[in-house]
């Protein structure tokens, strides 16, 4: 296992036109640990995740994932990270199996892995139906499969448990929960749930890091201010 920190941010900035979306964010996430990102809608959580996923480039500051500097070395880390966001990234006219097969081939992963994951989330039976016919919860299960298909060491999870019923939540936990062993960055609208899972907590307010501590040292008043 790598001894280098999984993620290192130093003075990260990202703008949208004249508006600053992320302002001077710095942090360090050790390998294997979980970072929870809290904040209101529009605070910059999704932007941060997308930058880590190499989908957006930093406008200023340093971003290092597995020791590689983004965006220059993006291609070196892409195969080792998995993003689960609002969009499941699945083609609606193709079946679950076909979608996962497409992603598997893009990542150089064999078809057995697809079957293994479909089994793990209980989707074997409905894997051949077009995605547009599936309920939101089933689509989310497929999205989780897509995320972990290539066994990434860094998981970027934007509201991962949205739309999942308790049974499904249990099924996906071994894949994207603490037990998976990967370094994780997750966001959630529910601060309590996120704190329970985290080793490190970042509070984002208007793009700025309002606080960055371990969960037991988090000031409840600060959290309340974030969502006020």
């Amino acid at each position: 296992m790598d001894q280098r920190p999984a993620i290192e941010l130093r003075g990260l900035y990202r703008h949208f036109g004249e508006r600053t979306v992320l302002r001077d964010v710095s942090l360090l996430v050790p390998a294997g640990s979980t970072l929870a990102v809290l904040g209101r809608n529009g605070a910059g959580k999704s932007t941060l995740l997308r930058i880590l996923a190499t989908l957006l480039r930093p406008h200023a500051g340093d971003v290092l994932v597995f020791g590689e500097a983004l965006p220059r070395r993006g291609f070196a880390v892409r195969g080792r990270l998995g993003l689960l966001a609002h969009d499941p990234l699945l083609y609606r006219d193709l079946s679950g199996r076909e979608n996962l097969g497409y992603h598997a081939r893009l990542h150089g992963v064999g078809p057995e892995r697809v079957e293994e994951l479909l089994d793990a989330v209980g989707m074997r039976r409905r894997a051949d139906e077009p995605v547009r016919l599936l309920s939101r919860g089933l689509v989310q299960r497929l999205a989780v499969c897509r995320t972990v298909l290539h066994a990434p060491s860094l998981l970027l999870l934007d509201e991962p448990l949205a739309n999942l019923d308790p049974a499904a939540t249990e099924l996906v936990s071994p894949l994207i929960g603490r037990a998976a062993g990967a370094t994780r960055v997750l966001t959630s609208h529910d601060p309590q749930a996120a704190l329970a899972e985290a080793d490190l907590v970042l509070g984002l307010e208007d793009g700025r890091a309002a606080f960055l501590t371990s969960p037991d040292k988090v000031d409840p008043a600060a959290v309340k201010r974030l969502y006020a």
Binding site: F16, G17, E18, R19
Partner: protein, 242 residues
């Protein structure tokens, strides 16, 4: 940030002087054309406008390539100004061209001339530049896509002229006989002075607009820094880079 205002007065004077000289030469020095008479003199504004416009488009493409290479917004602003100045000069070309066509050949438009046709195609292409910019809201993406367009369209200019010339050369003789090396001395001098004058005008106007835009941006940035984010109203959606 570069100061575009530097040397602007000298440049403006040079442009004004050269254009005045060109006008003087046109009306008092250049000989009257035997076939077309007085109206032929429009050639001295029409062809320089055309050449400057085309060079402006290619120049815009080069500036766009610089933006793609460096990611520095100032190249995109330069590219934008270059292209929309060239568009204005291009419209001038088409207007003076149709006036000349009507006066000397009796038609407002002639398909048989490859140069006119190529020019029209290039103008149709670049006319889409601003609608394209306007329809992309994310400012960074707008700059990037506009630069890609500028590069492709800039490369298109020479290719287009080759293709259209090949399409028509063997059917009709060159209608515009007063180009290139065929000009007698006095006409050539007038033409060259006019060309330099129009080119200087282009560069001067380019610099003026760059100065205006860059000053506005600096003022906004200073206000934001001194008075806080809210003191500056967000810019409306626009085709121009901010």
């Amino acid at each position: 940030m570069t100061t575009y205002g530097r040397g602007l007065r000298g440049l403006s004077l040079a442009a004004a002087a050269t254009i005045t000289a060109a006008l003087a030469l046109t009306f008092f020095y250049a000989p009257l054309d035997a076939n077309q008479g007085f109206i032929q003199k429009i050639f001295y504004i029409h062809v320089p406008l055309a050449i400057t416009a085309l060079c402006g488009f290619v120049f815009g493409g080069v500036l766009g390539a610089m933006y793609l290479r460096t990611g520095d917004r100032k190249w995109d602003i330069r590219s934008y100004v270059a292209i929309h100045m060239a568009l204005i000069f291009g419209i001038g070309t088409l207007l003076t061209g149709t006036i000349w066509a009507k006066a000397s050949w009796g038609h407002w438009w002639v398909w048989s001339d490859p140069t006119l046709t190529s020019f029209l195609i290039v103008m149709l292409l670049f006319a889409t530049y601003q609608p394209l910019r306007f329809s992309i809201e994310d400012p960074e993406r707008q700059s990037r896509y506009a630069s890609v367009f500028a590069v492709v369209a800039g490369a298109f200019v020479p290719l287009n002229f080759i293709a259209v010339r090949a399409a028509q050369a063997y059917v009709h003789p060159r209608v515009l006989t007063l180009t290139g090396g065929n000009l007698p001395g006095s006409m050539r001098l007038t033409f060259l002075v006019a060309l330099v004058g129009v080119a200087l005008l282009y560069v001067t106007l380019w610099k003026y607009e760059m100065a205006a835009k860059s000053t506005r941006m600096q003022v906004r940035a200073l206000r934001r820094a001194l008075l806080g984010e809210d003191s500056v109203a967000p810019l409306k959606r626009s085709a121009a880079p901010s």
